[in-house]
């Protein structure tokens, strides 16, 4: 039977992969996908904790699942706004490569 540690390690691995995408890739769209992976890794650990720590009534913690639902909703809004910003940026600069986007560089 898989234990809580299994799920937490998979969640941590997924988070690290997302972090690697954000840190190592230079395409702004891939960086954005890495952010999505990190959000989903957090969701996995929330659901794992809700299943492995049932309440006094012997049911999983549904508050955690509602929190995951809210995270998914906010992430959907975030993706929409972020992609609109990327499209506006592409229109202005004709690139999605972060090293070419250095207008704010000091």
């Amino acid at each position: 039977m898989p234990t809580l540690a299994h799920y937490l390690l998979v969640s941590g691995g997924l988070f690290s992969i997302g972090l690697a995408g954000v840190l190592l890739r230079r395409n702004i769209l891939i960086i954005f996908m890495g952010l999505e992976l990190m959000l989903n890794a957090a969701n996995l650990s929330l659901v794992a904790f809700s299943r492995f720590h049932p309440g006094h009534d012997g049911l999983p913690g549904y508050n955690a699942q509602v929190l995951v639902f809210f995270i998914i909703t906010v992430a959907a809004a975030e993706v929409a706004v972020g992609l609109a910003i990327i499209v506006a940026l592409f229109r202005a600069k004709q690139t999605t490569h972060v090293e070419d986007l250095d207008t704010l560089k000091f």
């Binding site: 937490l8 998979v10 691995g13 997924l14 769209l29 049911l59 909703t73």
Partner: protein, 167 residues
């Protein structure tokens, strides 16, 4: 059996997650991310969170990734040209990720009940969607409505942002 399914789904999820980072073409990365989300949804199902699993497939693998692919096609991105890799940047990234994994391992090992198996539920056949709905509309009614306002604001913001003449 459960353990085998767990490993199947988690290796599926992690491999396609690695694909997101290592594919050169943005379209391959996006498709890989879709498969990773499907694997994650099956992991949610192994945790008896059927509602979250279905929402994951519908919202993430469906709506969000269609939006991503749509934007990639719209921008007409080719495979990235290879640029000289900055060794310092990769080394720094590697150190940060390695440090994160080390810290995570320490926390998981020190967690007192990390190696317990799944507790038996009081009522295994319970309707999971109804329970989430009760929690959502009874305990979290105000946040639910605020989320609705957030979605409206995001929609308006996107329309304003993507108008052609941005002044």
């Amino acid at each position: 059996m459960q353990l085998a399914l767990f490993w199947l789904f988690s290796i599926f999820t992690l491999l396609f997650g690695l694909g997101v980072v290592f594919f050169r073409s943005p379209v391959s990365s996006a498709m890989s991310l879709v498969m990773s989300f499907v694997g994650l949804a099956s992991l949610f199902v192994t945790l008896d969170a059927f509602f979250i699993g279905v929402v994951q497939v519908l919202v993430y693998a469906g709506a969000v990734m269609v939006l991503f692919l749509f934007i990639i096609m719209l921008l007409d991105l080719r495979t990235e040209e290879r640029r000289p890799v900055k060794l310092a940047a990769w080394a720094g990234g590697g150190i940060v990720i390695g440090g994160f994994i080390a810290a995570l391992l320490r926390v998981v090992v020190s967690l007192p009940d990390a190696w317990q198996t799944k507790p038996v539920l009081a009522n295994p056949g319970l309707n999971d969607v109804a329970q989430v709905g009760f929690a959502l509309f009874r305990n979290f009614n105000l946040p639910f409505q605020i989320i609705g306002v957030l979605l409206l604001v995001a929609t308006i913001g996107v329309v304003v942002l993507s108008r052609r003449e941005l002044k």
